[in-house]
């Protein structure tokens, strides 16, 4: 469990970038942090894995304050996927890269080798490929694989789909969904509201270092005040449904509340059939 209790944080004693932030993330949650650049999302991620310590308040990981834990210790509990995979990759082959986490924590046995082999097969990697010669999407996948191979209970993703094409994005997020379904807590920073709408169960919207909304994904993404405050555009279907709500007086409820293509199509078919 991750708890933020009135957390304020700053870099190098300069102005605070996070002000009085409080929230709790339970085990197994899939939470997306949304907001403009500079809203404090990445800072929040750095606070979660202890790279940054709060200047006031407390960040608790399983009831333990991060001020008492080293980031390298926290690495056993949480995997962190950075925006730029090149900062994470440091080995000469894909296999070595996947084994790196185990070697750092001093536990490379047959079980770990098997885990790496299974993941190589799942991701479709060539184990002898040189990581730096892979394309951007595959490097991002490799960075993700090198984290999930350690099977951490929490995975933090800082803009995991940046620079990926649709196919690569689907692949990365599909794997993340599988992890979450298996019980892993997923905390994600994302600017792509389609991805947020499709995958996250809960959204925390931030602006100017403060939380402006925290709730189920579409509850937050349908709140026009929150959208305005956090300068975010909802997924297209939600946007259509919100626009219809605004312009049609007697809109059937399923259309008014549709958030996904499936929901919208079903609602429209029902309307066409005269169900409303």
């Amino acid at each position: 469990m991750i708890e933020f209790a009135q957390v304020t944080a700053s870099y190098d004693d300069d102005l605070a970038v996070l002000h009085d932030v409080s929230f709790t993330i339970n085990d197994g949650d899939f939470v997306a942090f949304v907001g403009t650049n500079g809203a404090g999302k990445s800072t929040t991620m750095r606070l979660i894995n202890g790279l940054l310590k709060p200047s006031a308040g407390e960040v608790l990981i399983d009831k333990m304050p991060t001020t008492q834990l080293k980031t390298s210790e926290l690495a056993r509990k949480m995997g962190f996927l950075f925006q730029n995979p090149d900062r994470q990759i440091c080995c000469n082959t894909v296999r070595e890269e996947l084994l790196f986490g185990f070697s750092v924590q001093g536990e490379v046995g047959q079980a770990e080798l098997d885990r790496v082999d299974a993941l190589i097969e799942q991701f479709g990697f060539n184990p002898d490929d040189e990581p730096y010669l892979l394309n951007r999407g595959t490097r991002q996948l490799l960075a993700l694989a090198s984290i999930i191979v350690m099977e951490p209970p929490v995975v933090i993703l800082d803009e995991p789909t940046t620079g990926l094409d649709y196919r690569e994005c689907e692949k990365v997020m599909g794997i993340v969904r599988q992890l979450n379904e298996g019980g892993t807590t997923v905390v994600m920073v994302c600017h792509d509201m389609e991805v947020v709408g499709d995958f996250a169960q809960r959204v925390i919207a931030m602006t100017a270092g403060q939380v402006v909304a925290d709730g189920p994904t579409f509850e937050v993404l349908r709140n026009s005040e929150v959208l305005k405050a956090a300068h975010i555009l909802p997924p297209q279907i939600t946007e259509i449904s919100l626009a219809l709500n605004q312009n049609c007086a007697q809109l059937p409820l399923p259309i008014a509340q549709a958030n996904t293509v499936d929901e919208m199509v079903c609602a429209l078919v029902d309307v066409e059939k005269g169900g409303f």
């Binding site: 390298s72 995997g79 900062r87 994470q88 440091c90 750092v104």
Partner: protein, 256 residues
């Protein structure tokens, strides 16, 4: 506090000086520090450099710089201390001794490096990179290609420092113990990080080179810059003072 070698806007005397004059003065100041080995003279030079830094509002930046240069010069001082037996013997070593002369030489190295480095670094804190480049091209007649290469090199130092710290953070998040207090262990752990740093550096410089090329880098001549950098009375005085300092350094060193 400004980042390492990052320009800080201001209106101090140092800010107002001509960029080329600042560069030449800093070089003359460094020459004077290396010409003379008199510790008192070097201490005066260090005091002058610190006064200049404080009067220009770079106290915190200079303190950080002094710390870094001090740490580096301590290594040199230690080597001198252990390998230059000179003066009255203070501590006997299996291969020689540490004497009063060795101690003086070690102190001289530390003070010299700090005094010589401060004005050079102040130039970058008080001048925009583009002004240094354009002024060097216009007034010192340095070919643009070389002036740009020089300023780009300096410009990339903080960029690479940021990269290195981001890479270290990423590796710490994977469980590498960079947050250990054991310096030896930390240095040993840093060696494999040269790979990602090298890769990101080569990628960045390659991108920068291509970007410059497609924007007509090779078409640029001395006349391409629109801004003029006139040399005024203040610049003349600064140059005069620095020339006098160099002469004084030669005189002191000849007298010794």
């Amino acid at each position: 506090m400004a980042k390492f070698l990052e320009y800080v806007p201001g209106n101090s005397i140092l800010h107002r000086l001509n960029p080329s004059v600042k560069l030449v003065c800093a070089v003359l100041f460094a020459i004077a520090c290396f010409v003379c080995s008199n510790l008192v003279f070097l201490l005066i030079m260090l005091a002058l450099a610190l006064t200049l830094a404080l009067s220009s509002g770079f106290g915190r930046e200079t303190a950080g710089l002094c710390k870094a240069v001090f740490a580096f010069s301590l290594i040199l001082a230690l080597v001198i201390l252990l390998t230059t037996p000179n003066g009255v013997e203070l501590i006997a070593l299996p291969w020689g001794y540490i004497g009063t002369g060795s101690l003086l030489a070690a102190c001289t190295v530390v003070v010299r490096l700090m005094a010589a480095a401060i004005p050079l670094f102040l130039v970058f804190y008080a001048t925009k990179m583009t002004d240094i480049t354009n002024s060097a091209v216009k007034q010192l007649h340095v070919p643009y290609k070389y002036a740009f290469t020089f300023t780009s090199t300096v410009h990339f130092i903080p960029v690479f420092m940021n990269d290195m710290s981001a890479i270290m953070e990423a590796q710490t998040a994977r469980g590498v113990e960079f947050d250990t207090s054991n310096i030896i262990k930390k240095i040993r752990l840093m060696v494999p990080l040269c790979v990602p740093l090298l890769v990101s550096s080569v990628r960045k410089t390659n991108s920068a080179a291509i970007a410059a090329e497609v924007r007509g880098f090779n078409l640029r001549t001395r006349k391409s810059g629109y801004k003029d950098y006139p040399i005024g009375l203040l610049d003349g005085m600064a140059l005069g003072v620095c020339v006098l300092i160099v002469v004084a350094a030669f005189v002191v060193s000849l007298m010794a």
